[in-house]
């Protein structure tokens, strides 16, 4: 197994973890109650996993362009375009998760609506992260490293 293949697998695994982790703060914050110290850690972990998944993808992106992209488009134009969609949606997921993370951690105790808004951002980030993971699986099944 090449290093690029290993990193690709790691990126996928972190993506799945981030998707699952992002659902948790969406549920925790949906009623707008103040966070306990333990739930603050859970929220922070979810945001950081989303950022880590994006960073891992960015790390292997150069190799993807060099080694995979051309053959991927030759095998299936649809799969190649699915990867392009995946990279655009991934930016949205990372930005939403980081914004919601800061909002959830900083919001004052009595600001229920701010925490609810953060919950919505986390929920949308989780849904879109699931889409990113699904597209990633599809693309890798067609052609990977």
């Amino acid at each position: 197994m090449s290093l690029a293949r290993l990193l690709e697998s790691l990126h996928g695994a972190i993506g799945v973890l981030a998707t699952a982790a992002l659902v948790h703060p969406a549920l925790l914050l949906r009623r707008g109650k103040p966070l306990t110290p333990r739930s603050r850690w859970a929220v922070a972990l979810a945001g950081l996993l989303a950022a880590l998944a994006w960073s891992a993808g960015a790390f292997i992106y150069g190799d993807y362009r060099r080694l995979v992209k051309r053959t991927l488009f030759q095998k299936s134009v649809g799969a190649g375009l699915a990867f392009e969609t995946k990279e655009h949606v991934a930016v949205t997921v990372a930005c939403l998760a980081i914004g919601a993370l800061v909002a959830a951690l900083v919001a004052p105790r009595e600001s229920r609506e701010l925490r609810r808004a953060a919950a919505l951002s986390f929920g949308l980030a989780a849904g879109l992260s699931g889409l990113v993971v699904g597209l990633g699986w599809y693309v890798t099944a067609v052609h990977g490293f």
Binding site: Y61, C95, V102, A103, V106, R112, L114, S121
Partner: protein
């Protein structure tokens, strides 16, 4: 005024500005979460309209830095919009809860549209 009442009133006056600042920072963070992907999509749409897509199979090689530049510019614009929003929110701290509701509504409308744009213009 008893000692306890004085202490409570001092705590309130100290914590209120801190809460108003925290509330403005939290709302500005939500604005960042919305503005950065919106900028990214605007950049992508501009590229799409400027140069209609050629067949990807014919392209031998492209720069991978374009994506990072696009993402970097989007984050920078998102931070600028968040900073402006923070300054605006600090001027009217009493409207915090209504503002958060409007932000949630905007997020619920704009984010699915951004995802749709990513799907339609890959």
């Amino acid at each position: 005024m008893t000692a306890e009442t004085r202490e409570n009133s001092e705590t309130m006056t100290n914590s209120e500005p801190r809460d108003a600042r925290a509330s403005a920072v939290a709302a500005a963070a939500l604005v960042f979460g919305l503005a950065a992907p919106a900028t990214y999509t605007a950049e992508r749409l501009y590229e799409y309209l400027r140069e209609p897509m050629t067949s990807p199979v014919l392209i031998l090689r492209t720069l991978h830095t374009v994506y990072f530049w696009r993402a970097g510019v989007a984050v920078w614009c998102g931070l600028m919009v968040a900073a402006i929003a923070y300054a605006h929110f600090r001027r009217a701290p009493e409207r915090g809860e209504a503002r958060a509701r409007r932000l949630a509504l905007a997020t619920g409308i704009v984010v699915p549209l951004l995802a749709l744009a990513a799907w339609v213009f890959p």
